[in-house]
């Protein structure tokens, strides 16, 4: 066998993994956090019958929405427009950034205050705006910390989860002049004061969207801190950026999604705020933004949508439970992935957003243990999709040909030949038995890159007689 470690194909991934694994504080931070989150989810969903009924319902709601995705987007657009929300469509991250910039320029905006939005991370919006001389300031505490550190989020729900209190205290001290303190309440209060000022001065508030309801033209935001509400209420202009898959058909459809989102993510029965926005400020109203823009971002999703199996990826409601329960994520943390979305959802989503070859090592970096699919509130069969991506990567199926643009990018003649040889033997029992006999004598039939195996394990020792030999002996002696 010529199974190789994915060093070459994976490129930087291996280097980052090595660094992360060698970084004791990072590993401790993640282990502690993930253990806590798993426990909280289990407690919040301990009634298994309720849990499974809800998951069934939530999956059904998302499937139903995806089945009518184009119609629902048109309906959402119409409804929003009729209520005074301006709707834009962006094919990719670049276009979406440009649309935000155009709105900023039109309003002569200098500063944008941001609520948490993973799509804006996907767009690398902050960077883009900075280059145009516009300041984008994160207001979610975790995002704020990450921005101060000039890093990216390491978790989609808890962006600064890779840092401990001491590191955050040090960072805030250096960047904002707060006292060195391990008192989380103090640090939180400092951030509150620093950001309150900024909310009042910001020209534009930019947020993500958790669910958009087609029938009522409503943008729903889920949050605990209140920064999302401030972002969408204080500045005179609100821009919401949203992946096109986030739409649901009916208002009632959000109820199971909301319930499972918060319980799966952090074990909360609900977040502090569930914010439903359906129009800009009306003439008799005294606050709220005068202008609301909705930017519908494709960025690879419509392509992904075209395959009925891969499409399941779009069911995701970004709860993060799959990463919280992932043994790989827990070990290497979010940054090692080098992607906007880390963890299991990142592995199946990123190849469609930033290219398959750019995320070459991700689909194989899983034991297919299934912990992610077990907890996913919308029942995405993540391990099956990972296998599908592995198949796409080597173009390994002639009956169900691969469809992705970069299909087969990982196929090497050596590995293909090895599997061919293996299959040849395994279809010829006599030859196969001879081969295993030789292996037993020669002692090294197992994966040829046994080096990787034996670094931390002893090599497996073949038994003196195989089971089939033992059976043959037994039958002879009868």
């Amino acid at each position: 066998m010529t199974l190789k470690t994915d060093h070459l194909a994976g490129g930087q991934f291996y280097i980052r993994v090595q660094d992360a694994l060698a970084n004791a504080p990072i590993r401790a931070n993640f282990r502690k956090a993930m253990d806590g989150l798993m426990h909280k989810r289990a407690t919040a969903l301990e009634d298994t019958q309720e849990r499974e009924s809800l998951r069934e319902l939530a999956a059904n709601v998302r499937l139903r929405a995806l089945a009518r995705l184009p119609e629902l987007l048109i309906q959402l657009e119409k409804k929003c427009q009729s209520q005074g929300i301006q709707v834009h469509w962006a094919q990719d991250a670049q276009q979406a950034c440009e649309q935000v910039l155009a709105i900023c320029q039109q309003r002569q905006a200098r500063t944008v205050i941001k609520g948490k939005s993973m799509v804006s991370e996907e767009m690398e919006l902050n960077h883009f705006l900075a280059e145009a001389g516009i300041e984008a300031l994160e207001s979610d505490l975790g995002e704020y910390i990450v921005q101060l550190a000039q890093e990216t989020p390491s978790h989609i729900i808890m962006p600064a989860i890779h840092k401990n209190t001491q590191q955050i205290s040090q960072l805030m001290h250096e960047k904002t002049g707060t006292q060195l303190s391990h008192d989380v309440a103090y640090l939180t209060e400092c951030a509150r004061q620093q950001l309150r000022e900024r909310f009042q001065q910001a020209d534009i508030g930019l947020s993500g969207v958790n669910f958009a309801v087609a029938e009522t033209g409503t943008l729903c935001l889920v949050e605990n801190e209140g920064n999302g509400r401030l972002t969408t209420s204080v500045p005179s202009c609100h821009i919401a950026v949203m992946g096109i898959e986030k739409v649901v058909e009916h208002l009632e459809d959000v109820t199971p999604l909301l319930s499972l989102l918060t319980r799966s993510a952090t074990g909360q029965a609900i977040t502090t705020y569930f914010n439903m926005i359906s129009r800009p400020r009306q003439p008799d109203e005294k606050d709220g933004p005068e202008v609301v823009h909705l930017i519908l971002v494709d960025n690879g999703r419509a392509h992904l949508y075209q395959d009925p199996e891969l499409r399941d990826t779009l069911r995701c409601i970004r709860c993060g439970a799959c990463m919280n329960h992932c043994p790989v994520y827990t070990r290497i943390g979010g940054h090692a992935y080098g992607t906007t979305y880390p963890g299991p959802i990142g592995k199946i989503l990123m190849p469609h957003l930033t290219g398959f070859a750019n995320n070459a090592a991700l689909p194989s970096a899983s034991t297919l243990c299934g912990a992610c699919a077990e907890v996913c509130p919308v029942k995405i069969p993540i391990p099956d999709i990972l296998v599908r991506l592995r198949r796409e990567a080597v173009n390994g199926d002639q009956i169900n040909p691969s469809v992705m643009a970069e299909k087969g990018f990982k196929r090497t003649w050596k590995e293909a030949l090895a599997w061919q040889l293996w299959a040849y033997l395994a279809q010829r029992p006599r030859l196969y038995q001879i081969a295993t006999k030789i292996a037993r004598l020669g002692h090294y039939w197992m994966p040829q890159s046994l080096g990787a195996w034996t670094q931390v394990r002893t090599a497996p020792r073949p038994a003196a007689k195989s089971l089939s030999q033992l059976r043959r002996d037994a039958e002879k002696s009868l």
């Binding site: 034991t367 592995r390 293996w422 037993r440 007689k465 089971l467 089939s468």
Partner: protein, 275 residues
């Protein structure tokens, strides 16, 4: 603009991924049969024949005749999870003829049973063998599951008091949903104290080719798993040879005092008079 409009009812469809539907296929336990087919799996055949023998003996003790097709090779899983589905299909199909009569097919491995039970139908979708693959899948059982639920196995413990930690493989736990089986069987043994290791449902880091493709992550995982098992008890049993080879190999390499054994070998040994 496109001609479709919301007035024209768009065709809706369910999740088209057959795998997901398959994993929800209800398992129907047959009545206790006269005979079963025994599919040993490559790891048992080559490295842990004693586990296979133990399984066969436990079956025979139940009065079941064990048919051992000598021409069996591999379920095809390694190629399947590596994305080489043409090869996986060819090898899988070569096994179909091993089971001509309608007896159940039992495997001493959750991972290979999971492959045959949950993935064959999808692997053979859109091929002439589709129905055949489905029929075979429906007959596949992991052996301990079969012993407990079909044979209603009752164990009598003949051994000395011992503390044991159980590691259930991820395929047995999540793909087949039979995590309770190993626990129930061990709990039948009066002198065996089963100790639940910390984070018991977490993967050991084997994952087939994962262990060689991503050795560092795999190493970090097996380190933790081995430690959790040692913290629980000096002896562990597991339902899958992959996990056994991984954990035992790591314990040996790092000279940790942890003794591992396949669950079937352990059950058989404990119920013998000379145990």
């Amino acid at each position: 603009m496109h001609t479709s409009s919301s007035s024209k009812v768009a065709p809706l469809y369910t999740n088209a991924a057959p795998a997901q539907q398959a994993s929800h296929r209800l398992k129907v336990y047959p009545p206790k049969p006269q005979k079963v087919y025994f599919f040993a799996t490559c790891l048992v055949d080559l490295f842990y024949p004693d586990a296979g023998m133990a399984g066969i003996q436990l079956l025979e003790q139940q009065g079941i005749e064990v048919l051992y097709p000598q021409t069996q090779t591999c379920c095809g899983q390694p190629a399947y999870t590596s994305g080489y589905h043409d090869q996986a299909r060819a090898v899988a199909q070569a096994q179909f003829d091993l089971f001509p009569e309608p007896w159940p097919i039992v495997l001493p491995s959750g991972s290979c049973a999971g492959m045959m039970r949950q993935h064959y139908p999808q692997l053979f979708a859109n091929t002439p063998e589709q129905a055949n693959a489905q029929a075979i899948a429906n007959r596949v059982f992991e052996l301990t599951d079969f012993l407990l639920h079909v044979c209603q196995l009752q164990l009598k413990d003949e051994g000395k008091p011992i503390k044991v930690a159980l590691h259930t493989s991820c395929s047995a736990r999540r793909e087949l949903g039979i995590a309770h089986v190993g626990e129930t069987l061990l709990d039948q043994l009066a002198q065996v104290e089963r100790i639940e290791p910390k984070r018991t449902s977490e993967c050991c880091g084997f994952g087939g080719t994962f262990a060689v493709r991503h050795p560092q992550i795999s190493a970090a995982m097996v380190e933790d798993k081995t430690q959790a098992l040692i913290d629980a008890a000096p002896h562990f049993v597991t339902t899958d040879c992959g996990c056994l080879m991984n954990i035992q190999g790591h314990a040996e390499k790092t000279r940790l005092k942890l003794q591992g054994e396949h669950l079937l070998s352990f059950l058989w040994r404990r119920t013998q008079n000379d145990a």
